[in-house]
Subunit: 578 residues, 2 copies
């Protein structure tokens, strides 16, 4: 291999561990490893100012080529003098290649040796993302470190698919390198090979024949077990040259990062610190805190007594609890800032311990604390919601009506309208378009399929959601399907509670999903893990913003009180499923 | 009147204008007028850090008693030592009384001499907001300036209603003052009287009998014309004592503020600077800029060449355009910060000009610039979207089908499903629950009614939305109604465009609303100004977050491609409108 453009200097290697500390120099800064890179997908880290990122110790930000190619587009970066100037970021930038997105986002279309064709979510245009286009875009963005375009597959792929992907990745890596031409930007290759040690070796050895400035471990954190990930990570890291940075892509929690450092990895990126901040989850030296919990409502404590970040210096848990409950953007900003600081502080402590050769001790201590919830305020068992006794004929504004010889029904008392309660009859399941939606696109294995997000607005007595579940379960017997994520949004569980307390009248509720949903807020099929059902309770205006988006299907199940009539010619429409 | 607790010092009075400059001292700071108060409804100004607010010159923040009463609740403020400590705000705080919210938010229920009963959006509890509870809550919050609970009515109310409201406000003002007991917090009274000069006088004179530390002009910016507002503002300001601050509540744009300073007002609050920032509207010395416009995509210019705020010092219009297009929270933060700075800078210039007795000149200059859009990049006439010529039988994935003797229909080509196109037949309009929703609650005049927000998800060929419009127009002939705001969310206008190019087949489209909607993105009834129709075009995941929320009614009008069947027992349901 030719010398790295990064002037990588290994400074220390821990005893009894593969952890190591190093420095290297990018076009914009000197960086110290191990390091964590906050994710700035669209040339901005969610709700974070560049100056606070810099002050908290961010050295490199990750930006997404796929998103930036579509918006604002490479021409803007060319005009504006690159991403650093565009977003006013004084540190370094690493751009991914778009490989991960085209294989995981819902706009992917087809894959050939030339590249991947996908449809732009901005203007609908069909775009061929080739290794050349990816690198040209990354050159326009002007990142310090570019990634080769790779073919990312699930870590659980079979050997044949895994070999095929790594071979394509190999050829694309060579094309990526050629496309760089005389750019001074560094470039990392990506080792693939799923969970097969011999394929990982084959991939690493092939890539090491070329002049890359660093190597990434790709294809992990996409479906495998934690132990499998750690083993494969360690194996792959060992295969890589000692004089180049090693980067584990898309990983992970603070604990994941610690484990991977121990296994010889230098660089990490993950959206977790900003993503979980939006729902009020905060990493602290006393475990993970869920700020929505009422236990913090009156708390004058700082987020983390051991943290030196500006948020911990200034704000109480009570205020951050309030910002979480009110979903104020200031909360995302402050808690994201703290979480990023937490990651960087962890990396600094890790690095210092490696330099002083006491990493192994730190590793064992941190491992404990990084996997607990708030140790000062442990979560006690959640009480199940009160279900009315079986003889209750009313819950909230809903009433049960039983007429002998006819199916029982549930009425909304105020409006007198009936709630749907037999959507789950078998004939419903046979002709529905849902089954079509669930079909896998040609050439896409189930593991690579994008989940179908189905919004069930209203919930009602759960009949429509259960119908979707039964459909899924029936169809899945015939062929592999895309994952299905049902999200029910409702302000009122009364109709479902009433139905559940009279299950003998509503046979579709013998399916246990609704019970679990009410008790836990979420249900996952034991047999089809891609099938999930989540409850978001609250005013629609609030829950919509929490729901995974965009939905591919929206099932409107209005509560009678909010129903508007359908168009009058609906009787003329083909009635699917009737 | 007893001496003001605020130690109000009039410093200068402009020549040829009623504009004045003063200082007064709150419990937390000395403030200089004229001043603008950013709105921190929930103890946080949207996406703004306290330190940047302070640095930009914010002297007083406004917080909303109604919201803070419900969440986090007065007990939290008591425990945490008041709002300043809670939100880490070093300046002063003014709390409104909740009067405006209970008369304008959708949870209001009934109003008596005792107070207003409303239902909590947090836990559904019924709460009597009396003058005493409002003041006790404001004391718990610990604001520097409290507002009396007032009865806010539309400025266009008739004389009888206006007199009744001001008399109630008068009695509630006395009760508010008594409820303060020995608190050192200041208290402002609120002058009501709609647009009737003699009622404004009656209200002001009554309130001036009591020992208030300042006076607000209430009941403006709630329905009247600009000239009416300015006249009433000037008249009321003249009635008020010269040695107390005058506060025009909820006003307004920079131009509104300038006009009111000229008429003798000292204090203002408005959500505009942060609210418009979210959609990329920015105030500059060269007019208002809409950053979503493509003209800024490559612009290396600063937002405002004459602005000294940190955002203008650092970022280009191109980057802020990008943050607007991607709806990144950093954009709301940065543009909100700039807008707030713009307001404060305007107030500082105004104040300086008053102190130097050249306000009138400044007033005439500023008046010009504050009412224009970007003068360097004027908006050219918007081209109407291309409507297919009448003979086109297809638009996008939709096809027209005409069978002699039958109503024409529009089909989704891919799925073969028909789009609803005759929802507007007269019988549809007679039995619908929509009419019930539109009825005014007992004792609520039309002007005080909360608008009904109707989400029309999907749009289709516009039939359902037009049906709602026709229903409104028909019902409005019989009785006054609540306002109706229809919001259509869609990714695809093809079906509507196709129908519009074949109007003779689709008589409901003779109603001009759909044409206007397509050309302008919004339609307002000329005869019933409360009736509006707005188009939000884009993926549902994006448009939902832009739609006014929460919707009271949601009409799901799925495009055939995204339709899920209704529950199978829908045939058993009463079918309203058929």
């Amino acid at each position: 291999m030719s010398p790295s453009r990064l002037d990588f200097q290994l400074e220390a290697q821990a005893t009894g561990s593969r952890a190591r500390a190093a420095t290297f120099r990018t076009l914009h800064s000197t960086v110290r490893t191990p390091l964590f890179m906050p994710v700035g997908t669209q040339a901005t880290v969610k709700a974070q100012l560049p100056e606070t990122l810099h002050e908290s110790g961010s050295q490199i930000l990750l930006a997404n080529t796929y998103h930036l190619l579509l918006r604002p587009g490479p021409e803007v970066f060319k005009k504006m003098g690159g991403i650093h100037k565009f977003m006013q970021w004084p540190g370094s930038v690493l751009t991914d290649s778009g490989g991960y997105q085209i294989f995981s986002l819902p706009h992917s279309r087809s894959m050939t040796e030339a590249g991947a064709v996908f449809q732009s979510y901005v203007d609908g245009q069909r775009i061929l993302l080739s290794p050349e286009l990816s690198i040209q875009t990354q050159m326009a963005i002007g990142s310090d470190i570019m990634m080769v375009l790779d073919q990312c597959i699930p870590s659980t792929a079979d050997e044949k698919a895994a070999r095929k992907a790594l071979q394509v990745t190999q050829r694309w890596a060579a094309r990526s390198l050629a496309a760089r031409e005389d750019s001074p930007q560094s470039m990392f290759a990506i080792v693939q090979g799923a969970l097969y040690p011999h394929l990982r070796r084959e991939s690493a050895e092939g890539l090491m024949q070329m002049s890359f400035d660093g190597f990434a471990i790709g294809g992990l954190a996409v479906g495998e077990e934690k132990a499998e990930r750690e083993d494969t990570c360690e194996l792959t890291a060992c295969l890589l040259p000692a004089d180049r940075p090693r980067y584990l892509m898309g990983v992970g929690t603070p604990l994941d990062v610690l484990e991977a450092v121990h296994r010889g990895v230098d660089m990490f990126d993950c959206i977790i610190p900003t993503q979980v901040a939006k729902r009020g989850s905060v990493f602290t030296s006393r475990g993970v805190i869920q700020l929505r919990r009422t236990v913090y409502k009156f708390s004058e404590d700082r987020l983390d007594p051991d943290c030196t970040c500006p948020v911990c210096a200034k704000y109480t848990r009570a205020y951050l609890h309030h910002l979480t409950k009110t979903q104020e953007p200031l909360g995302w900003q402050l808690m994201g800032q703290h979480n990023i600081h937490f990651y960087h502080q962890l990396m600094r402590e890790i690095r210092q311990s490696i330099l002083e050769d006491r990493f192994l001790k730190l590793y064992h201590e941190k491992r404990q604390i990084l996997q607990v919830e708030d140790i000062d305020h442990p979560v006690t068992t959640v009480k199940p919601p009160v279900i009315s006794p079986d003889h209750a004929q009313r819950v909230g504004d809903y009433e049960l009506s039983v007429t002998p010889g006819q199916p029982a029904r549930i009425f909304h008392i105020t409006t007198g309208q009936a709630v749907s309660t037999d959507a789950a009859t078998p004939q419903w399941n046979e002709e529905v378009p849902l089954a079509q939606h669930l079909r896998l696109p040609a050439d896409v294995p189930a593991e690579e399929a994008t989940p179908l997000i189905l919004w069930d607005i209203g919930l009602g007595a759960g009949a429509a959601a259960i119908a979707a579940i039964l459909t899924y379960e029936a169809e899945a017997e015939k062929a592999p399907l895309r994952p299905l994520h049902i999200v029910s949004l409702t302000n009122d569980l009364s109709a479902l509670r009433l139905a559940l307390s009279h299950k003998r009248h509503f046979p579709y509720l013998r399916h246990g999903a609704a019970d679990t949903l009410l008790h836990r807020g979420t249900w996952t099929s034991r047999y089809k893990p891609g099938l999930t059902w989540t409850l978001l309770q609250g005013p629609l205006g609030e829950t919509l913003s929490q729901a995974p988006a965009p939905p591919e299907l929206t099932l409107h199940q209005p509560l009678p009180g909010m129903e508007l009539p359908r168009a009058s010619n609906e009787r003329d429409l083909p009635s699917p499923g009737l």
